[in-house]
């Protein structure tokens, strides 16, 4: 039995050999060329000694070769562990240890850094992607490999881990999310159905490939027989140029990117973008004004989704079809069911929140990952029966639409009153001089915590603290008032542009603002 994902891709290559399979950074590959690359990559891995079930780490950049690796790995029953190449070496080594890494594929700079800090201790081979490095196999050897899909001596039934996604950043214990080949297949099929994706679509992936969103967006088109457009790196200008030239029809973007893209699209000399039939915003709720302006400029169907790497996409909403649910993240996919859990509900099963009542979002989904790799206890702790506790807060309305209300951990508890920081962000974010802002918990002897606010002013604008306080006093409840306001140059975010609210306090302290 051969890998279903790999076989679907090879079947597409046989049916449409000359069709464009993928574009990345000015380079292209037809389905035939991509199939040859995947086979050569598989042959290279096999000749170096890779075997069924091995784990290969790769500090991953966005390239056609990286995408080929996913399909080679699928075909051989190997697991890829994509790492963020900009992480400090120590964090990469911790992630490699947590992921039982046997082999490594990396660029020269990575091997040089490893050597400086005592070398790289792995049992298997190392492949160097750019030129040569002592003790490694040059990737260029791939050109000597046969283009035939290799025979394998082990069934690949789909239960194999295909990707371990590392969720923690530069600190903390890595939490490897274990995604099987079947997971990837089911997730792709669910998205193809919900977003009516066809072989005619050109699907843009504009986030890093070491994150599950982009992995989904490159695997999906190639098993469907569509075209993948992979942005090498994200800046709003690179995105716009790529979209203008490659004319993608569908993308799932993170909301922080869309806000930046909008700024550029509003410039008088901005090109007209008309190729999209549908755009999905993910990761965080998009500000309504940004949404309206994007729809006006891009003239396409606009969706928002909610999900986590563990359970994939949970809900979706099409903005144009549900105008009376503007702030909702939508209704569940057919594969998913949602419960909203009240606090202290570990032992009590009758603790679902009433419609409109905020609680923790818990999800039961057929798209759920295999678990956290070798961290069963951590996964069990996150489960409530069959439901995965997302750590996110939200509520359902009477029609079953989900509304997002912030991260559970981000909750500010001031004098026993719960404050949802997102509510404050939205209100202060409406001020014209504010680029972005975030409320966060500040330790306080009397109240336990008080509300603090970090504000990034728009370029060339100043924040008048007195006016800001007056505005808050007028527009927020008393328990929501920020006790402390910090003017900052930026907010701490992860690589996906998601706000790291828990890191703001450290950020203002490190920058000497907390005096």
């Amino acid at each position: 039995m051969r890998s279903r994902l790999a076989s679907m891709f090879y079947a597409n290559a046989q049916m449409n050999p000359d069709k464009l399979a993928i574009w990345c950074d000015g380079k292209t590959a037809t389905y035939k060329e991509m199939a040859d690359l995947v086979s050569r990559y598989s042959n290279l891995l096999l000749r170096q000694g890779a075997a069924y079930g091995d784990h290969i780490a790769i500090p991953m950049n966005n390239s056609i070769e990286s995408v080929a690796l996913f399909f080679s790995a699928a075909d051989l029953g190997i697991c890829v562990v994509p790492l963020n190449p900009s992480l400090p070496l120590e964090a990469i080594k911790a992630a490699m240890a947590a992921g039982d890494i046997k082999h490594v594929i990396a660029r020269r700079a990575f091997f040089a850094d490893c050597e400086k800090s005592g070398g790289l201790d792995i049992p298997g081979f190392a492949i160097c992607l750019d030129k040569e490095y002592p003790g490694t196999v040059p990737f260029e050897k791939i050109n000597e490999m046969p283009v035939e899909r290799p025979e394998i001596d082990h069934d690949v039934d789909g239960s194999e881990s295909l990707i371990l996604t590392m969720t923690s950043g530069s600190t903390g214990t890595p939490k490897p999310i274990d995604i099987s080949q079947d997971n990837k297949y089911e997730r792709s099929m669910a998205h193809i159905r919900v977003y009516k994706i066809t072989q005619d679509d050109k699907i843009l992936a504009a986030t890093p490939l070491y994150h599950s969103l982009a992995e989904r967006l490159v695997i999906l088109p190639l098993i469907l027989g569509a075209t993948s457009i992979l942005l090498p790196r994200f800046t709003p200008a690179i995105w716009l140029k790529c979209v203008e030239e490659q004319k993608p029809t569908f993308t799932i973007a993170v909301s922080a990117q869309l806000a930046q893209i909008l700024e550029l699209l509003k410039q008088p000399d901005a090109p007209k973008i008309t190729s999209f039939r549908s755009i999905v915003s993910s990761s965080a709720l998009l500000e309504a004004s940004v949404k309206y302006e994007l729809i006006d400029l891009l003239k396409c169907e606009f969706h928002e989704m909610y999900g986590t790497s563990e359970v994939s996409t949970v809900t979706d909403i099409c903005f144009q079809e549900t105008k009376n649910k503007q702030n909702s993240v939508g209704k569940p996919f057919d594969e998913a069911e949602i419960r909203i859990l009240r606090d202290e509900s570990e032992s009590d099963f009758d603790t679902d929140c009433a419609p409109g009542e905020v609680g923790e979002i818990a999800v039961k989904s057929k798209l759920q990952c295999k678990g956290y790799y070798k961290q069963e206890a951590m996964m069990n702790a996150a489960m409530f029966g069959d439901y995965f506790r997302t750590g996110d807060l939200g509520y359902l309305d009477e029609d079953g639409y989900l509304y997002f209300a912030g991260r559970k951990k981000e909750l500010i508890i001031t004098g026993a009153i719960n404050v949802y920081p997102h509510d404050i962000d939205v209100v202060v974010g409406r001020l014209p001089e504010v680029e972005e802002c975030a409320a966060f918990a500040y330790p306080d002897d009397r109240l336990g915590e008080v509300v603090a606010l970090a504000v990034v002013p728009k370029e060339d604008q100043e924040i008048n603290l007195r006016a800001l306080k007056t505005y808050c006093a007028r527009n927020l409840a008393d328990f929501q008032q920020p006790h402390k306001i910090f003017i900052v140059d930026k907010l701490p975010k992860n690589t996906m542009g998601k706000l790291q609210r828990m890191a703001i306090l450290d950020y203002v302290r490190e920058n000497g603002l907390d005096q």
Binding site: D25, G26, P59, N61, S63, P85, S86, R107, A109, F110, D130, P232, R233, F234, T235, A237, I238, K490
Partner: protein, 84 residues
Amino acid sequence: MENVKEFIIDYIQREYDIPDDVDILNLNYVEEGYIDSLGLIQFIAVIEDEFGITFTDEDLESEDIKVVGKMAELIASKMEGAAE
């Protein structure tokens, strides 16, 4: 000067090859996404350590440090200043 240029070009290609047809000395590596604003802070620290120089606040505010050739010139001039 050549080794300074080489060091910069090497560093900004840690994750991606710069295509052959790019005018590398005039490349704005931040605008082109080779290093982002957070990465730039790290890059500055690496350069200061490597060449034993210190950037002033004025240097860091200047757009020139984001351009390969101009950054190389700035580093070289600081190294000369330090050697005198």
